[in-house]
Amino acid sequence: MSNAEGPFTRDESVDKPGIVGARWWNQGLIDEERAMSRRKAVGLIAVGAVGVAVVGAVGVGINAAVTSAYKAGERVALAMQKEFGWDFGARTVALVFNGSTTERFDPKRLATLEADLAPKRHLPWHVPTLLQSLTAPSKRLPRDTSSQRLLPAQLMPIQTAAMTNAYMLGGLIGQLFAGRGAEALLIVDLNGEDSIAFAAGAANFLEPIFGMDNWPHPVGVVSSHLTLASAAYYQPVFAEAKVKRPESAGGLIVLDRRRLSAYTDDAKHFDNRYLAKIPSASALKAAGYKRVLYITNQSTGAAAYELDDLNAAFVALQSEGVEVRAVSLDVFSVSSGQANYGIGGTIESFWRDYPWVSTTAPKAIVNSAYTAYTPRARPTAFSSGKPANFGKVHVVTKDGAVAGAELDATGPWRSDTNYQGSSNYMVIVAPRRSGSFTRSSGGWGG
């Protein structure tokens, strides 16, 4: 591989059995340094009444005032992705997938993923943002000459053991509710890829309503690419079920519980978190629903109550006459080909604890933390709406226009000595020596 473009030039190299190495010099930086030295030598710099010489920023030239053309700012993360690309600020970072499948995959079918997964009866409640990331166009940053990576080319379908289990449970629950007149809207809130698998398992019986309101990002706080990869894997299932499913099928809102992943503002991650959207009580009633069943999985560490962004909505539903209940998936199991609920019960025993459908099944033993759940108002980070820095990304602007994401290691502002950066990223510490006394502390020789 050769690259005639500088400015780095190699001046030393060794390639021997004992050692291989090389040294390069940045000729561009050296030339800038020489130019600054020449200007100082001929006394071209004088600032203010006292005539104090000021050295300007490299690459910016000699300025009278020590300021940078680059300014720190903050923008809505999703807006930046829609404007400048899904991988804004991390164009060279690859997506990492945690599962794999050996089944044949045709990337071309991703072009219809959004359409295949779009609901019919519950379309007004559908949030297609994540699915649209595959086909949405975006423009480039000025001076950005890097190759644009199209998201569909980066995506690969995944399959994990947890997804397989969720798919099975989705089928169980879907069959349990199908045609029973429970008048319940289901909400599944697992890790994104598992929620998708659950919805795929239930797709013949319940219409999935997707609620992922973000785009994936290579260093995103929310690993939405896994959710998308799961959707890609189950796309044929969703497409087929959409045709076969009865028009009157009940709804299943599909959420990613990683949407509120813990995040401390830092230079390494992209804040693609988002809040879930739930229909209002009036909308639910108008659609024929009397109740909501919130589905999580306690064995994965979920607490026996809703995620913080749902608390206010669930409390409001309850107060306006829509019953809100919760269930953990770990109370369902399959043994000897038979589906069960709790200990000592059949799958029908579910209706003994959630009496929306009459049953003669025996009462099962289950953890009452879930069966006793009702939404209670509690203080959360979202009690007064979305926090100010939620879903935001630090950007660098120049002349009022976005020049890039501050987490971009190759951004031109990094060579600007006057750029101050975001206060969150630049914890200024007193200059200090770190590390060891190295080889310079002792004599050494060949």
Binding site: G6, F8, I19, V20, G21, W24, G421, Y425, F437
Partner: protein, 196 residues
């Protein structure tokens, strides 16, 4: 221009057949004589990834960040001499390496070292960010987690503020990997045992 310096050296003892030394050496051999800051960043990203993936085999190392101009220039010259004088490398193949024995015995440990040093533009945004990341408490200076942290945070460095970089690997040929006896030489005393 004032200078800062960041340097890191790792000594690893991977198992027989591990291609780490060859892979690191190839990064240098294939990197062009003239190149761009972006390509430089990619080369070091690959190096960092290789080292991070093999950090479990690291036995000793050292690292520095200095922001004194004179110290930075002097130390950078010292790190360069470590390569040009071939001070740390063997003068002959390992005793257990021969034409009929391309692979060392399982019981014979083989050590490799990887050294990288960067002469930086003091006061630049990227340099200050790296300085910040090197603020490691004294009781954690030589932990494996610290080396993992530094390898990771080196990704924040823009090569637009790197005035010079030197990168070298011992050995260039697996048969010249360092032995345990070699590592006991006083010239390697500056390498600190890695803990954790």
């Amino acid at each position: 221009m004032n200078h800062s310096i960041f340097a890191l050296e790792l000594c690893l003892c991977p198992p027989a057949g591990n291609p780490l030394a060859m892979q690191l050496g190839e990064l240098v051999r294939r990197h062009p004589a003239t190149t761009t800051p972006g390509a430089k960043w990619e080369m070091y990203r690959a190096a960092r990834q290789l080292l991070a993936n093999n950090l479990g085999y690291a036995v000793s190392g050292c690292w520095d960040f200095f922001d004194s101009d004179a110290k930075s220039l002097a130390d950078y010259d010292m790190w360069t001499k470590g390569m040009t004088t071939e001070e740390g490398s063997r003068r002959s193949p390992r005793p257990d390496a021969s034409a009929n024995n391309m692979y060392r015995q399982q019981s014979e440990a083989a050590y490799i070292t990887c050294t990288m040093s960067f002469l930086l533009q003091n006061g630049s945004f990227a340099e200050r960010q790296l300085n910040n990341q090197c603020n490691i408490p004294d009781d954690r200076l030589w932990t494996r987690a610290t080396f993992a942290h530094l390898l990771d945070k080196l990704g924040l460095l823009s090569f637009a503020v790197v005035k010079s970089d030197v990168f070298y690997v011992i050995p260039g040929d697996d048969r010249w990997a360092l032995t345990a006896d070699d590592m006991r030489d006083p010239k390697f005393e500056y390498l600190r045992p890695i803990v954790g």
